[in-house]
Subunit: 144 residues, 2 copies
């Protein structure tokens, strides 16, 4: 049994990594599949899995298995929820977060299976959606 101090420390540990904070920000609008998240972040699948596990163990995320995909969503109570609100408020206008959101919008506009196919070129997609001023545009179905 861990006390409230250790619990809060675990929450802060989970949020003490840029990739994990970016994931949290990406999940604001609704749940996402692991492959969609990682298409934006760009780490090895095993690494991303470890990050998601840490966020889940800290009580910040919940998972839902749907076929061979696993969807994560924000799910926090108490101190974790408060920390989450702090994060979203602090990074509302952060450029890194905006770039992620733009790329994510383009990705979620595609069918889910397209993301992990070998011919899928994230870099090309990033070029089409990130640099121009329009932050987000496409929005279709799969975000939730």
């Amino acid at each position: 049994m861990t006390g409230p101090l250790d619990q809060l420390v675990a929450i802060h540990k989970a949020l003490a990594h840029p990739a994990r904070v970016r994931v949290v920000m990406m999940l604001r609008r609704g749940e996402l599949c692991v492959c969609q998240i990682n298409a934006v972040i760009g780490l090895a699948p095993s690494t991303m899995s470890a990050h998601l596990r840490e966020l889940k163990d800290a009580g910040l995320l919940a998972e839902r298995k749907a076929g061979r995909w696993v969807h994560y969503r924000l799910a926090a109570e108490g101190a974790a929820a408060a920390a989450l609100r702090t994060v979203t408020a602090a990074l509302a206008g952060a450029p890194e977060v905006a770039a992620d959101a733009a790329l994510l919008a383009a990705i979620t506009a595609l069918p889910v299976e397209a993301v992990t196919r070998p011919e899928f070129d994230v870099a090309a997609l990033r070029r089409t959606c990130c640099p121009p001023r329009r932050p987000a545009r496409a929005r279709e179905k799969s975000t939730r």
Copy 2:
């Protein structure tokens, strides 16, 4: 120049250690000298100095040099202040924090120079104020 994302990550890193969180909670009532803080936490002075430095670099603490003593106090703006509020709210009733507060009350009731004298026995003081059910009792002047 670091962006808001790195800044928030640094804040969370600083709060991702039990000793540092305890320090933050101890400083709620006002500034404290390093020796007072460390009498409660019980680490090597060099280690405590490093912890305080990290909290200061993250924008959570400020220092004030007074003679040969250095006093630290909470001093946060923006995201750091929000994170601080989250911490204090989450740990309002935490037992570890209450024990620290009780010991701290006994320590601040003493003259500052007494704390680091060789015959000063923190363990004895801890026995007098922490284990019994009365959470805090001594309270005199110097907490602020």
